[in-house]
């Protein structure tokens, strides 16, 4: 069981992710450099947060053309598990491994704060151990995190339970006031139709260390590794 964390030159949550996967979850984890085209036989690929190639054009727009992403796309299309967080989610959408797009937040500002999200399905490798009734406190930190897709896609996402997380308030209510960035239907994270590619804007790796007084994000990693190992 081996996890690879992709490092683009502008990744800045790569070490945070490696810390959680390696030190907190106790998994074997390796770094995958963006110029390489070898996934080193990893079972899980994680695309971390950051600003891949500076992201001056559009978040994640250039990353999809990198050598490592060619391999990641092949891996995902062959059923491999790929998980993107924040910028990683943006890269997965730009790479068409996930539907939809992440647009500028509706307040036109970068937002960093703790928000609450609620898992929408237990039927995924990422959420199988997550309590469906619990509002998880997980931070966001993005300028372009407003999930958007066309009506047909949205219908498909709903019909096939591909919506993994929605933004909610502390009490778990999903409404307009609990939507931090204007995402369509409060969507915070999704998976693909085949349920092997996952993306979310909130940072579960920032909510997994007891020393930071919040471990609400740990259940996602626990889910991931329990299922992959099983």
């Amino acid at each position: 069981m081996k996890t690879g964390v992709v490092i683009f030159p502008g990744s800045n949550c790569d070490q945070d992710m490696i810390y959680v996967v390696g030190k907190i979850m106790g998994q074997e984890v390796v770094e995958l450099w963006h110029k390489d085209n070898d996934l080193q036989n990893c079972d899980v690929i994680i695309l971390p947060g950051g600003f891949s190639y500076g992201d001056y054009l559009r978040s994640g727009a250039i990353a999809r053309f990198s050598p490592i992403m060619e391999e990641v796309i092949k891996f995902a299309n062959a059923g491999g598990i790929v998980f993107g967080v924040c910028n990683g989610f943006q890269v997965l959408c730009e790479s068409h491994l996930l539907p939809g797009a992440l647009l500028k937040n509706n307040n036109n500002k970068f937002i960093c704060e703790n928000v609450y999200i609620k898992s929408q399905t237990s039927n995924s490798i990422l959420t199988n151990l997550v309590d469906l009734d619990k509002a998880l406190k997980i931070p966001i930190a993005h300028g372009e995190g407003r999930f958007y897709c066309d009506d047909t896609t949205l219908k498909d996402l709903n019909n096939s339970s591909q919506i993994l997380f929605r933004y909610c308030n502390k009490q778990g209510d999903i409404n307009e006031l609990s939507n931090p960035n204007g995402s369509i239907e409060n969507i915070a994270g999704i998976c693909n139709f085949n349920r092997n590619v996952f993306g979310m804007m909130p940072h579960p790796e920032r909510a997994a260390d007891e020393e930071l007084f919040n471990t609400d994000g740990k259940s996602l990693f626990a889910s991931l590794y329990s299922k992959v190992l099983a």
């Binding site: 030159p9 800045n12 970068f110 790796e205 930071l212």
Partner: protein
């Protein structure tokens, strides 16, 4: 060589006649234009500290934990135990931010981080201290929006969390905002790199971004009065690229590991000329530099433009001859320029060549602080307003009938209200080390993963106090920074400062500067927090009715502290229903320079709040002792806004209420809103109260029981219902968003 220059040219470049004469004496000839440009930037206040160094040298800089003293390296270096050292520094970017807030602030962040990683330390936290005019003016909203977005966009992409800061508003900052950025980095003891150059035949490399025409004469610009015409100096403002900075950070830290690096310095103010001269002077060697080899953005850049360009995200590296491939490989990996532009030579001359000609030929040492750069003693005299401040008499201030109205007024005032609109635009959690995100304390607490320790960081300065009395006000800034660290469970270690003042040639401004330095010296000595360095920014001022006035003197204190046991962090928020609320420190009838007297009563002239450094030390010792016995549930110091604000801030996070008794020893407005120093509020759990009392009785410090934390969210003071905590929270939260969206 180019044509000779004249006194007129020298003056245009900001040099004095006496300085032009000195240059001629040093060179034993008349300098050419390139050389004169070199001296003008190197002898600008920004690079030479010529008008401040005499006083800066009086600051205490010795300490058992100090590994690099003030002036020795790009930033101070402090031993923080377990084999680790902390490099930290604060720097201003006021003038660029006044004309181009977005780029001005962004490049301020970039510059201060480079100061840290050029030493081999990895930045792990950033803080900032900002001053703006009132937000009823569109211009000030534009400045605030631009500065915050500039800091955010740069810091967020660079990937280092912004963990703390402070913001203060006053009309005196209407034309000249202050933007001070601090960076804090970690390095293993003994693995730092020095900004030096030696070893004849070693190679000089420029790495990172290409050199463009941005920021030429930026250091001179930063050392001139800000006027309405300053926008015409826009080319003097640099442009930032955080992605390049991120690459430069990783490549720099990687290249140090190769063992090929003799010395390294970032290029900030005064660009190539500053790095070549400072490194050469330090290593007592010279350099031959071929300016044609410098990668440039534009064609046909003149030699002086290449030398003075303040293009961002560049470093100068001196590499041991024969090991250049090791260096090139690293920069290739990160797709960054890495170009050899010269070599180290014997002697101390810097020889710059262009098109095969020697275009400048100057002794390195003559350019730098501590070498040939001029040092001036400036006159100073006490201003009129200072006497007026002393005439303030509290008995002439009527006690308002409606204290609830005052309370609401204070909580929703611009300076007291929440700064979340600002801080939420900064990534405060990247790096997964911010222990304050979910458990706020008075100082920002940063986890040192893999150790038992955490850093405690604070930036503080109440500009109004310093204006009222520079010596006391600056001592309070130091004391408050230290108090924030102690109230968070930490131990204060060392200080960096950013000294923002008006024109030093104005004796009344210089009086403020001298007073501030004296106050800082006294407080830093007493609190055993040596000054490790910092930055001076003069010429901060505004014009009103045709008259030029200095901004409030603002010696921002950035303080580093440590928690040797991170589990000893003290939260500032109330934790439990029925906890007992105590006030520590003396009750004094003092509303001097408070938000209450200044904003509510509109009285601009009063002395600084009461301050006694011995009381301050006693308070710190008491809190540290109580905390070592785990007797504190939560702790928050009493500062801007006074006791009522402190209690509200403790109650907000978990939506508690509180019920307290008025202690009639002093006026009720002093009690609730006075800002007399060296005080803190503690919450103590019911079970630990008797042990707490036994302990504090021996501490020789005044303390009083105020009341209790309440589960319901009501606020009672002497049985008067002041309303709910959530009603105050709404006032507190909505002020700035409301102003910015209107």
């Amino acid at each position: 060589m180019e044509n000779q220059t004249t006194l007129e040219t020298a003056k245009k470049l900001g040099l004095l006649e006496s300085e032009f004469d000195t240059i001629k004496t040093i060179l034993n000839r008349v300098p050419n234009f390139t050389e004169l440009s070199i001296y003008s930037v190197m002898w600008s206040e920004h690079c030479s500290y010529k008008n401040s160094i005499k006083w800066l040298k009086t600051l205490p800089k010795e300490g058992s934990r100090i590994l690099a003293k003030a002036g020795e390296e790009n930033a101070g270096l402090v031993d923080i135990g377990e084999g680790l050292a902390c490099a930290f520094k604060i720097e201003s970017h006021n003038h660029p931010s006044a004309v181009e807030p977005y780029q001005g602030a962004a490049t301020g962040v970039g510059g201060i981080n480079r100061d840290i990683f050029t030493m081999g330390a990895r930045p792990i936290a950033q803080l900032n201290s900002l001053r703006f005019g009132n937000l009823d003016k569109e211009k000030n909203k534009w400045l605030l929006r631009g500065v915050v977005k500039g800091i955010g966009d740069y810091g967020n992409a660079f990937g280092i969390p912004t963990v703390g800061g402070e913001v203060f508003f006053d009309d005196c900052f209407n034309q000249n905002p202050l933007v001070n950025a601090m960076s804090v980095g970690i390095v293993k003891v003994g693995e730092t790199i020095s900004a030096t150059s030696y070893g004849s035949g070693n190679l000089v490399f420029i790495v990172g971004s290409s050199t463009g025409k941005d920021g030429i004469h930026g250091a001179t610009f930063a050392s001139a009065d800000i006027t309405e015409n300053s926008a015409e100096d826009l080319p003097a403002v640099q442009v930032g690229d955080p992605f390049q900075e991120k690459l430069l950070l990783e490549a720099t830290l990687e290249v140090i590991k190769t063992g090929a690096v003799i010395g390294m310095q970032d290029m900030g103010a005064a660009g190539i000329i500053c790095s070549t001269s400072e490194m050469s002077a330090k290593g007592k060697h010279g350099m031959n530099i071929n300016l044609d080899l410098v990668p440039t953005r534009q064609k046909d850049m003149k030699p002086f433009e290449i030398l003075l360009s303040e293009s961002q995200e560049r470093m100068l590296i001196v590499v041991e001859k024969g090991k250049e491939d090791l260096v090139k490989n690293v920069f290739d990996k990160w797709d960054l320029n890495c170009k050899q532009i010269g070599e180290v030579i014997e002697g101390d001359f810097l020889n710059f060549f262009s098109n095969g000609e020697l275009v400048a030929n100057v002794p390195a040492d003559s350019l730098v602080l501590g070498g040939g750069a001029p040092v001036y003693e400036r006159e100073y005299s006490e201003p009129e307003y200072f006497k007026k401040n002393q005439k303030f008499d509290i008995n002439e201030i009527p006690i308002p009938n409606d204290l609830i109205d005052v309370a609401k007024n204070i909580i929703s005032s611009l300076n007291i209200s929440s700064k979340k609109w600002i801080s939420n635009q900064y990534d405060s959690m990247v790096g997964t080390a911010n222990m304050s995100s979910n458990n706020p304390s008075d100082a920002a607490i940063v986890n040192l993963k893999g150790t038992n320790r955490a850093l405690a960081l604070s930036v503080d300065c109440n500009s109004r106090y310093v204006y009222s009395n520079p010596e006391v006000g600056c001592a309070i800034a130091v004391a408050e920074a230290a108090r924030n660290i102690v109230c968070s469970g930490g131990q204060p270690l060392a200080v960096t400062n950013c000294l923002n003042f008006g024109n030093p040639y104005n004796p009344e401004v210089y009086w403020q500067f001298v007073g501030a330095i004296k106050g800082m010296s006294n407080a830093c000595t007493a609190l055993e927090t040596p000054v490790t360095g910092g930055n001076v920014s003069f010429y901060n001022q505004y014009t009103e009715g045709g008259e030029t006035k200095p901004v409030f003197p603002t010696p921002t204190i950035g303080m580093l502290g440590i928690l040797e046991d991170k589990s000893q962090q003290i939260p500032l928020s109330f934790q439990n229903d029925k906890d007992k609320i105590y006030i520590l420190g003396d009750l004094i009838d003092d509303i001097n320079s408070s938000e209450y007297v200044y904003s509510y009563h509109g009285l601009k002239n009063s002395p600084a709040p009461f301050f006694d450094i011995q009381q301050e030390i006693k308070l710190h010792k008491t809190i540290s002792l109580l905390n070592s016995k785990n007797l504190i549930s939560s702790c928050h110091d009493i500062s801007d806004g006074g006791l009522f604000t402190t209690l509200c801030e403790m109650a907000f996070l978990k939506n508690f209420g509180f019920e307290i008794k008025y202690l009639p020893k002093i006026r009720i407005d002093s009690f609730l809103f006075g800002e007399s120093q060296s005080r803190a509020v503690l919450a103590v759990s019911y079970e630990k109260e008797s042990e707490f009392l036994t302990c504090i009785k021996n501490c020789n410090l005044s303390y009083q029981l105020l009341g209790d934390v309440k589960f319901d969210e009501s606020i009672y003071i002497d049985d008067v219902n002041f309303g709910t905590i959530s009603s105050y929270y709404n006032l507190y939260q909505n002020k700035i968003p409301h102003l910015m969206n209107s």
